[in-house]
Symmetry: C2
Subunit: 404 residues, 2 copies
Amino acid sequence: MRESYLTHLECSKCARTYDPDQPHQLCSCGAPLLARYDLAKAAAVLKKDDLLQRVPSLWRYRELLPVRSETNIVSLGEGMTPVVPLKKIGAENGLKQLYLKDEGIIPSGTFKARGAAVGVSRARELGIKVLAMPTNGNAGGAWATYAARAGLKACIVMPTDAPMITRNECAVTGAEFYLVNGLISDAGKIIGRAVSRYGWFDASTLKEPYRIEGKKTMGLEIAEQFGWSLPDVIIYPTGGGVGIIGIHKAVKELQAMGWIGEKMPRLVAVQASGCAPIVKAWQERKGDSQFWQNAHTVAFGINVPKALGDFLVLKAIYETGGCAVAVDDAEILAAQRRLAAVEGAFVCPEGAATYAAALKLKEQGWLHGDEKVLLLNTGTGLKYPDTVQVSVPVLEPDDDLPEA
Amino acid sequence: MRESYLTHLECSKCARTYDPDQPHQLCSCGAPLLARYDLAKAAAVLKKDDLLQRVPSLWRYRELLPVRSETNIVSLGEGMTPVVPLKKIGAENGLKQLYLKDEGIIPSGTFKARGAAVGVSRARELGIKVLAMPTNGNAGGAWATYAARAGLKACIVMPTDAPMITRNECAVTGAEFYLVNGLISDAGKIIGRAVSRYGWFDASTLKEPYRIEGKKTMGLEIAEQFGWSLPDVIIYPTGGGVGIIGIHKAVKELQAMGWIGEKMPRLVAVQASGCAPIVKAWQERKGDSQFWQNAHTVAFGINVPKALGDFLVLKAIYETGGCAVAVDDAEILAAQRRLAAVEGAFVCPEGAATYAAALKLKEQGWLHGDEKVLLLNTGTGLKYPDTVQVSVPVLEPDDDLPEA
């Protein structure tokens, strides 16, 4: 009999607490709410070896997730994405222990499936009927997918520039679906007005407390997959920042349970030079970021000019001795090609940015050659065909091939 | 210490045997070779519970795979794809126990990754340098990907009509890559001439013995995921047929090991009405199929006018009391939309064909409502954006949403 050890919601800024079994959005102070658990009880009941008997999905960490009843779980088998060694490309760059966690191998093809699986499951459990959200594409695709499975209505608004295939996902799953001539921040304002007017539930990044619980499972899996000893450095592409906040939360929860040691992995936030508010704030040693004007990058998922959780991302970086680094679009696209050609890893531009950042940090001496470094690829390159140039000869059936 | 219990290669028609540690293509009689193992020894050494300690990839079945040395394994974490219950859509159609095994959740987004992972690993082990193959797209993408990781050269020829995104995969991984104005059979002839001329290794469907060993792992996983008791019926989209032949082979190997009972799942081959040579042969109770003229279907992966392994597919159907069934493109596209909208499963057209076939077989009374029925989705819908109609309103930032 597995149960959730969720106890309450707590404001990430003012520490005010809330009843977790009622729907909540932000704290009255305007900051995100975080789910808290009875970790001592969880540690007393759950043993690491118990996990071996469970299916390889994020639901293996059931006790550390917010869903009360098994019957509310909305799952397509998401989680336990592979950790792939990058030996060849690591050796090329003097990084002896370079790894990639590949979140392309998940329903809907991106890590957004995690937040959607847990967020939609909990929304169903709390009796919510309509979920509304702005998106840079992938989150919308994932939430539309899981909402369909749950029988909930989803209303999605995404920028016209978002990756084309995410439109197909929203359309095929039957979501209420709109484009906006603008950025995700414009989409967010449209959703905000509709939420006030119609009483929908706002599933925007960090405006409800459970998406991050799904993302947290990346951190839990990394710990389990590395034998309950974390890598020295985790490099993460950062837009809204929920992934890095979630991994940080996971590490702290596992430490509280006594499942891992006190040493923190240094968390690195990667942004694109065309949209780098977190990097600027970190360089200026500030606690939060400012709206980035004229944001633009090929790595569309991290084209977020101002994140609601910026202060939590920065906290995760400062607390772990991490850093924030910006890479150009040209570096991102070169990294994408190189990872595919050398390692067979066809990653999305956001994921490629982590490799470009690793190169830069190694050059700067911030990364050492013998450290264990994990790159987080947030999605499959298959969803971004436009980033790959294809020029291919067309043969007639009687033509012959040249020698390879 | 895990090892392969591979003993020899055996012709699927004339039973002639070959040394497995030399590169081989077809038998001298022209039929495919199959890998054989010392299953008694494997059963004596390996226990079902040993698997629980292993990572959730197809390499957990190491003893039943042909690769001798761990160092030759080329892996991106493929395998142990989820089995997802389809309760809602099952109930709609009077099928109480309907499941989907989702091969979209795998590197390169299709089941072709399995054959490529095992085939490329073994090719590397046998010292092969250049792999050449015709493809309807997805196999080419997968083999190009794994060849890049292995450091082997891949030469791929695909029809101009193959799904666009598979071109990106071949291009980004740096394969020698060509299109042909024709069908996969035309691509096969071009490859055949180049193989003779340049001495490349021919990795065409069933022309080497190890791709099928990768596909076989679908059957091993199904057995493990259903608690070592197979579903009553497995419905599979059939082009080259390696998937269904592989599952049949897996079931027989597990029976020989005593890991499952004697009852066979009925294997169903699904084809498109526009290209249904196996269905025609089965209707006429023949042992092999004839070349299908003017083949055409939206489910491009099963647009195979004549499969080299047709007689093995038909044998699998006859031996298990299965059947072969054809569905129209319109039924396939409707099934794709319905699976996405009701279950959140965005499958490829080939995968959707299995659901269309299940509806037909239920109507005909061939499927019973209380049987355990498994649909095999061979790939993610994300790779086929053209199959989904998108018509979406574009808002300006000041616009408001209507009520959902």
